[in-house]
Symmetry: C2
Subunit: 228 residues, 2 copies
C-alpha cells in the first residue's frame, strides 16, 4: 500500500529546484547563450511561475558559476573564455585523478558490474550514433566512478566542473572521428578500476581529460573566429 502517495512525495520538488534544473539545462545545451540576459519577468512568464522561484534558482546558478550577476542589472549567462576553461581543466585534472584513485580503492563488486555495463552501454550508444544517447551513457559511466569514491563532496565538485564543459560537449560528441578513441579510453579506465590497477586507470583518465581539453579549447577558438 501507499505506493502512489510515496511516489507523489518523492516527486515533490519546490518550484525553485524545477526552475534551477530547467535553467541549468538550458545553459548547458546552449539554448541560453553566453552573455544572454536572464530577465525575471520574462522567464517567469515563460515557465508559468512567479518571480520568486526564478530569483532563488538564479542565486544557486550564481554560486555554480553558470550565471554572472551584475548588481541592479540582473543575471546573465556566464561567458566561457579560454582562460575560464583552462582554469576549470587545471582543477579537473587533479580531482579526476583523485576520483579514479579513490574509486580503485573503494569500489564494490556490485559497482564493478555496473561500471562494466555502463562501459558497454556507451559502446553501444556510439555504435548507434545517437548523440543524446552517447551523452547520456557517458555521464552515467562517469557517475558510477565518482559515486565509488564514497566522497559526496568530491562527487559534487567533479560534477560541477564536468558540467562547465558540457556546454561544449555536443560539438565534441558530434565529431565521430573521435568515437573509437573515446570508447577505447573508457574501456581502459574501466579495466584499470576493476582490476585495481591504479596506474593504468590514472594514465587512462589523464589521456581522456587531455583529449577533452584539446577538443574544448579548439572549439572555443573556432567559436571566436566565427564571431570575428
Amino acid at each position: 500500500m501507499g505506493s502512489i502517495f510515496q511516489q507523489d512525495m518523492d516527486e515533490y520538488l519546490p518550484l525553485r529546484d524545477v526552475v534551477f534544473k530547467t535553467l541549468r539545462q538550458g545553459i548547458l545545451t546552449g539554448e541560453l547563450k553566453p552573455g544572454e540576459r536572464l530577465m525575471e519577468i520574462h522567464l517567469a512568464n515563460k515557465l508559468g511561475v512567479s518571480r520568486t522561484p526564478i530569483r532563488e534558482a538564479i542565486r544557486k546558478l550564481e554560486l555554480e558559476g553558470l550565471v554572472t550577476m551584475i548588481p541592479r542589472r540582473g543575471a546573465e549567462v556566464a561567458q566561457i573564455t579560454e582562460k575560464s576553461m583552462k582554469d576549470v581543466l587545471e582543477v579537473r585534472k587533479v580531482l579526476d585523478n583523485l576520483s579514479v584513485e579513490l574509486a580503485c580503492e573503494r569500489i564494490t563488486e556490485e559497482e564493478k558490474e555496473q561500471l562494466q555495463n555502463a562501459c558497454m552501454d556507451f559502446e553501444d550508444a556510439v555504435k548507434t550514433g545517437d548523440f543524446s544517447m552517447i551523452a547520456k551513457t557517458d555521464v552515467a559511466f562517469h557517475d558510477i566512478i565518482v559515486a565509488a569514491t564514497r566522497n559526496i563532496r568530491l562527487s559534487q565538485m567533479v560534477n560541477n566542473l564536468a558540467e562547465q564543459m558540457y556546454r561544449y560537449r555536443f560539438e565534441y560528441i558530434k565529431d565521430s572521428t573521435q568515437h573509437n578513441r573515446l570508447v577505447q579510453e573508457h574501456k581502459e579506465i574501466c579495466d584499470g578500476i576493476i582490476s585495481g590497477d591504479k596506474e593504468k586507470a590514472l594514465a587512462a583518465i589523464e589521456a581522456h581529460i587531455d583529449n577533452q581539453e584539446i577538443a574544448v579549447l579548439n572549439q572555443i577558438r573556432i567559436d571566436r573566429e566565427k564571431r570575428a
Copy 2:
C-alpha cells in the same frame, strides 16, 4: 573628484549578500550551531529585513554546503560529522597541493613581498596571542597563496573547503601549544614558494594540512563525547 560617489557605489551590496555574509559568519563562528533551524521570519526580524533576502541568502548557503534544506520544513545549519570532515580534507589535500604548486610557478615579485609580510604578520599575531588577530593573519597568508595561482575557480574552491574547517578553527587556534609549530610551518611554506622550491613548499603544506586534520578530527571526537 567623485570619490564619495565612487565609494558609495563600491559599498552597495544587495541585502541578500549582506545576509549571506552575516549568516555564513554566524555559522563559521559557531554562533549558529549545527542542527539549529534557520527560520525565515525570525531571521528577518532579527536582521531587520524581509523574508526575501533571507531566502535568497539561504539558497546560496545551501550550495556552499553550510546549510541543509528539508523540503517544506526549511533550512538548518549543516551538521559536521567526522565523515563529512574527512571528505573535505581528502579533497583539500590535493587542491592545496595544486595551489602551492601553481603559486610556485606563477607568483610575482610583488606577491612574494606580500607573502613575506603576511608571514611576519602572522608571527607577530601569534606573539601577541590575540586569537582573532591570529585567525585574520592566517587567512590573509593563505589568501595570498591562492591568489598567486592565477586560477579564480581554484581559489573559490579552496576557500570554500577551508571555510568548512573554520568552524573548528577557534578551538585549534586557542591551543597555544601548537602556535610555534604553526609559525614554523608557515615559514617553510613561505620560503618554499618564494625560492621556487616546489618540493619544500609541498612537503610543508602537506604537513600543515595533516596537522589540521588531526586537530579537527580530535575536536570532533571531543564534541561528540561532550554530547554523550
